[in-house]
Symmetry: C2
Subunit: 265 residues, 2 copies
């Protein structure tokens, strides 16, 4: 399971302030905390800063990599901003994200083609957010096919089926979960990756709902997640679900998490 | 989702004592508490009392049904004890359980054949506990086929795939989960039902592990569970998972549970 730590995002107040103030120590601390809590990649997002996104993204990459040994997940819809971040990144970054939206697709493809980078591939097209499993599969099919043809191996592709709020349609959970399963079984070797918090939009007890969907998605094959690694309950859910999904020899990860008090709620 | 409340079981100290003392008020209270917390059936088990099981089971059925309007799940491997309980039961009981073990099968079949009773069908044969999905499917196939031929409709059959501890084999979670999915998709209209606590045998934080498996099993199609309905966290997991599984129009059940403070942990 690949964990992408989501906290260094300019849409969060404290991060926004730290970026504006050039407070490298604050950013470094959040990077370290996430790495310590199990993040494999540190997401960096400066999307709130119109006009300065590329500059800030570059600074974020440098700041994170001076504090931890984890690669970054460079998070922007803007290819120029991504390239600025990549220019200073050491090791193989993850790019967040490409999609089937024509403009984004055409500008992002040259960056990832044959690059050895990991890439998040959103099930999104110019027709908007998909609603059904079939719509997601149709987009995933075209995206994966084109990426593979452009020398991005399946193992470097993380398909995000995109979650929609279950409060607006009772089938939105199922359509997402079935898409995870179908993507993982149809394109053997590809990965799935997502943020889940949209599912609980408009509902109370959102964290609990998000954790529950995470466990269900792992049952369906999900092997990547963009989460807050400091959320001990979410991380415990992921660990336990992985153990039950047959991904934990001798329950080693589960026992280690227990000893680290991950299950004290 | 059918919830069978598991608490009235003579293997539990307080229940054992209440049965021996003929303390109907104590049993009635546990029945009422479970019904109030969402149990659709109240399991009654007097298996610890060799020689007096039939007598006690009869008393338990009468006591539970004088306290609640819920039917019982009459729980014994002994057909004579089941018949004693059935003789005084009002309405359609659930029988727990038939299996493919020759002796139990031959004695239990005449009780359930064409009876209108619900029946739990264990994936167990004289060859012992199944380990793989295929072994479970082979037993389920023969059991379901024979029950249907003996006028037990699919809708009255609750197949229990049987859970084995993940601490002894990392694939035991997956083999169980895949069996749930395969049973539900292969025999359209049948139900699945199980107690889950075996999964966490030998591990710490057992309740958390059991809750996690429950959520995963619902993602795979599980629609019945033998649980402690007073375990608010477990019931919250079931409610949230059902909402995400597309079984909760307008999130009504989820919102109701939230208002009843089921999500306060």
């Amino acid at each position: 399971m690949i964990i992408v730590g989501e906290l260094i995002n300019a849409s969060r107040k404290a991060i926004n302030a730290a970026i504006e103030a050039g407070d490298a120590a604050a950013i470094a601390q959040v990077a370290k905390d996430q790495a310590k809590s199990g993040a494999d990649y540190i997401d960096v997002n400066a999307g709130m800063f119109m006009g300065r996104e590329a500059e800030y993204l570059k600074w974020l990459v440098e700041t994170v990599q001076s504090a931890t040994d984890r690669p970054c997940c460079i998070d922007s819809p803007d290819p120029a901003a991504i390239e600025a971040g990549l220019a200073v990144h050491k090791g193989a970054a993850m790019i967040n994200s490409i999609s089937l939206e024509k403009d984004r697709y055409e500008k992002m493809l040259p960056i990832v083609a044959g690059s050895g980078l990991k890439v998040v591939a959103l099930c999104m097209s110019d027709e908007g957010m998909p609603e059904t499993t079939d719509q997601r599969m149709s987009i995933a099919d075209r995206l994966i096919d084109s990426l593979v043809q452009n020398n991005v191996p399946l193992d470097d592709i993380y398909v995000d089926p995109l979650v929609q709020p279950v409060s607006t349609n009772k089938m939105y959970g199922v359509e997402f979960l079935d898409a995870v399963e179908k993507i993982m079984t149809t394109f053997k070797g590809v990965h799935t990756m997502c943020g889940l918090s949209n599912i609980s939009y408009g509902l109370p007890a959102r964290k609990f709902m998000n954790q529950t969907l995470m466990v269900m998605a792992i049952a369906k094959g999900l092997d990547g997640a963009i989460v807050n690694p400091l959320d001990k309950r979410m991380m415990a859910c992921i660990t336990a679900a992985e153990t039950l999904a047959g991904r934990d020899e001798f329950c080693t990860k589960y026992l280690k998490a227990y000893r680290a008090k991950a299950f004290e709620f």
